[in-house]
């Protein structure tokens, strides 16, 4: 077991409560997001996360360190969530892209069509955003953050989960593909859809206010 991971495992085995509290704090967010992709309600996802942590506590002595501790924990989570999803008859088609996700992400009406002078070019350039949008701590950034949180709620489940794991929680594309069992190409389609909707949400908010 390499460096930190070994120390963490040793701390957990030794009953170091602070170490356990810290990983519960740090990892439960992505775990909950991920679990939601396999079960039908948020409450059910919470139970999956709790069940996973209990399984981790009971199994930590058997952990052999062939993968990182986090990978091991997340694998238990996905297995737990999947079997619960089966019981709940919940099936999100992670491995295929639905028809409505294959077309363009952005409204085609924003671009000139074949009969116009510059087919495929913007009818009008996107309006400029005030600089404060990206200035952390500004009033506008706060409003935009709340707006984005509500855009996230309206996204189709798969898009929301991929966007949350990637852009909100900062996981790599490799990690997300492995955890969800999807190809890079599928992940990119879902991410692209979701990012396009997120940008459009900000644009609508900024232009409307």
């Amino acid at each position: 077991m390499a460096g930190d991971a070994g120390e963490l495992v040793a701390a957990l085995r030794a009953g170091d409560e602070a170490a356990f509290a810290r990983i519960v704090q740090d990892w439960s967010r992505p775990m909950l997001t991920l679990a939601r992709g396999f079960v039908s309600t948020q409450a059910s996802a919470e139970e999956v996360v709790q069940e996973t942590w209990l399984a981790v506590l009971k199994g930590i002595d058997r952990f052999e360190g062939r993968s990182s501790l986090r990978t091991w924990v997340f694998r238990i989570l996905v297995n737990t969530a999947k079997s619960r999803g089966v019981k709940e008859h919940r099936t999100l088609p992670w491995s295929s892209i639905a028809g409505d996700e294959a077309g363009p992400g952005l409204d085609p009406a924003l671009f000139q069509s074949a009969g116009e002078p510059y087919p495929g070019h913007w009818r009008a350039a996107p309006s400029a955003w005030p600089e404060e949008v990206a200035v952390e701590g500004s009033v506008l950034a706060g409003e935009v953050r709340r707006e984005l949180a509500s855009v996230l709620e309206t996204l189709p489940d798969r898009q929301r989960i991929v966007l949350t794991l990637r852009d909100v929680l900062g996981h790599s594309s490799e990690e997300v593909c492995e955890l969800l069992g999807i190809s890079q190409a599928n992940q990119r389609v879902l991410l692209h859809r979701a990012r396009t909707a997120a940008r459009a949400g900000i644009a609508a908010y900024v232009e409307g206010s």
């Binding site: 009953g15 967010r29 709790q50 350039a125 996107p126 949180a149």
Partner: protein, 78 residues
Amino acid sequence: MADLPCRQVVEVITSYLEGSLGWRERRRFEKHLRGCDACSRYLEQMRATLDVLGTVPVDTLSPEAQSTLLEAFRDLRH
């Protein structure tokens, strides 16, 4: 090679940001951006969107659930 229209530029933007465009496509994309203020602005707004996304709060386990787990830890590991 035909110029990339704006409509396609906005659809490959994620591939561009993910570094998954081939070098030829990447060059076409960047060439288009140099000549197109509208798409440059779009890309800039996408980057700003990613910055704000990184600050959106995400649900975690309730404090009650967390303390239940800590109790279980005490029971099991002591």
